[in-house]
Symmetry: C2
Subunit: 338 residues, 2 copies
DNA sequence: ATGAAAGCGCTAACAT
DNA sequence: ATGTTAGCGCTTTCAT
């Protein structure tokens, strides 16, 4: 194993010079810097992570808490995680992968052992058990998601309320007046993850302003429950001409069932989804949709957390990303004779 | 920050005693151990990761290289990654998340900096650029996947050949004689990830033994290409009564298209899939399938790599997990008048 | 069964 | 602009 001392000897300088030449924390003459860099390359030197962490009390590692529950939003979670890892590397940081399983204990462990310089926490619930610890911790933390009380916390999330509003607007522009919302499973609302409620709020407020009638129904992901929900919707509101879906698992069944029941999408019924790009793009009818900007969320979270590590950057910043509606093929002008 | 020294003082013993009491590397009287453990709890002591790594040249971190390419097998990758993280924790290890993006450079970086004690590499290609480095590295590595040359390497993977064989057997048992294989996109075969080919080999060999006629067609995941593939299959082999699908994206289109063309599953046509449980279970017709045992793969990889770290465990071990076929509703007795 | 002390490889004052 | 040196908190000989 190549050490700093060996590099120093090889370059004919002192250890600190090598250290400073590499960190750039004090000015070094071009000549010495060159010599040092040469020796580093020639010897294949890599600073020892443990030693560096011990001496500087900086590990250059960011812990990422990912929900273990593997049943929902998996591709988006993965995309965020990958975006976080990629962004972190461009700033010289590595990612430590923690599963939600350890819960609050993980926060204590990371803080106590100084394993990571900061934490990024995904899948935050409205009243998450980790929040108090995170607030108390003397390590920076950024949440991906939006708890009910954001005091003393940094958060990055999609502005789901705005997403709901955008959907309502788009359908109103197309002349629709009666809209049904196929929501997440009831369990999601009960878990109080917040995002589903926020979409609904945005949808409701904008609908009220635009004079749309709105009917909301939570829904499981199975064919059977989508079928049941659908027939109830058409029973209660036969004039429904458009759907907003926020339920990854329900979109495909929804399209299939509409087709089966003789309703063409988008000629007879329009569908707008709030879901990952992939799901929207690969559906049997490519879906006009608002996507979760996973990449950007990951990148922003990293930037925010690094800013905090390095002493720049306010704490208690809530960054809500503006939704973007992508027009595909599932939403069109409302049919005439309604 | 609580240090070992503080714990020692609080417990009225020396630093080394605390260290040994915690590591169990030499015998400690029950009384002292008790006192130490009490102090640890009372003070909320967590060993400093950097210091420990420096002194012991063990980081208790395993690096996990996950493919960045987020377009395929995402849920399975995620499931494996989570299983790896969970299993690692039960053995006192943490996971460092590396994206495939860095490629071979990541291997050098980890080895040079001693950031991790070992590596687990996912999504290995037949002739992966990282293999030479991994073989040369003096850190243990375990691959999830099976390259063409496994010399000097530890691998964990599903036995895809056996999976193919199991599918052939199941369909033969049900009286099918003409079988079509809907495979992965041609690009997958060209990328030489190997698993698709291995399934096919197993399928072919067992089919030959059982007297089945087999037709293989690679296929993109879109509705259009599944439709095209399907009509070609029925053109060439009108007597086809069963399908084996190995293409996550194609399964739903396949079922939809069969239904549309008036062929009931499983009454008229049987379908057996090689795909993740979730996909199989949530398809419009629950699929009889062979799943990728993601959890087990993750766990085995961790166990194997830790065995190597700790000096037990042979290197050059290839562990092929036996496939298990789960009978659901998509495969039944072949129709009579064929 | 326990202590004392020498590093592990690096960073960051403190020199000059 | 560069060198000297004192730790960072732990593990692990070497003593006893």
């Amino acid at each position: 194993m190549v050490t700093l001392a060996e590099v120093a000897r090889h370059a004919g300088v002192s250890a600190s010079t090598v250290s400073y030449a590499l960190s750039g924390k004090r000015s070094i003459s071009a000549a010495t810097r060159e010599r040092v860099e040469n020796s580093v390359r020639k010897l294949g030197y890599h600073p020892n992570a443990g030693a560096r962490a011990l001496a500087s009390s900086r590990s250059n590692i960011i812990a990422l808490m990912v929900p273990l529950r593997t049943d929902m939003y998996v591709p988006v979670m993965m995309e965020i995680a990958m975006a976080v890892a990629t962004a972190a590397r461009t700033h010289g940081y590595d990612i430590l992968l923690l599963t939600g399983e350890e819960g609050a204990e993980a926060v204590r462990r990371i803080e106590g052992s100084a394993l990571a310089d900061a934490m990024i926490v995904m899948d935050v619930e409205l009243d998450d058990e980790r929040l108090p610890l995170l607030r108390a911790a003397n390590r920076p933390a950024v949440l991906i998601g939006l708890p009910s009380d954001t005091a003393g916390l940094n958060c990055v999330d999609l502005d789901f309320a705005a997403a709901g509003a955008v959907c309502a607007e788009h359908l109103a522009d197309l002349g629709h007046r009666e809209i049904a919302v196929i929501g997440e499973a009831a369990a999601v609302y009960e878990r109080h993850t917040g995002f589903a409620e926020r979409t609904l709020t945005g949808l409701r407020e904008r609908s009220a302003e635009l004079g749309l009638r709105l009917l909301h129904r939570p829904c499981e992901g199975s064919y059977a429950s989508v079928a049941a929900t659908l027939s109830r919707v058409f029973d209660e509101r036969p004039g429904t001409t458009a759907f907003v879906v926020q339920n990854e698992a329900a979109t495909d069944p929804l399209l299939a069932l509409l087709r089966q029941s003789g309703r063409a999408v988008p000629e007879d019924v329009s569908v707008v989804a709030v879901c990952p790009e992939q799901v929207a793009a690969h559906a049997s009818v490519p879906l006009t949709s608002v996507a979760v900007p996973a990449q950007e969320m990951g990148r922003r979270a990293v930037e925010q957390v690094i800013a905090k590590i390095e002493g720049r950057g306010s704490n208690e910043e809530v960054m809500l990303l503006a939704p973007e509606l992508t027009v595909r093929e599932s939403a069109a002008q409302a049919p005439a004779g309604t």
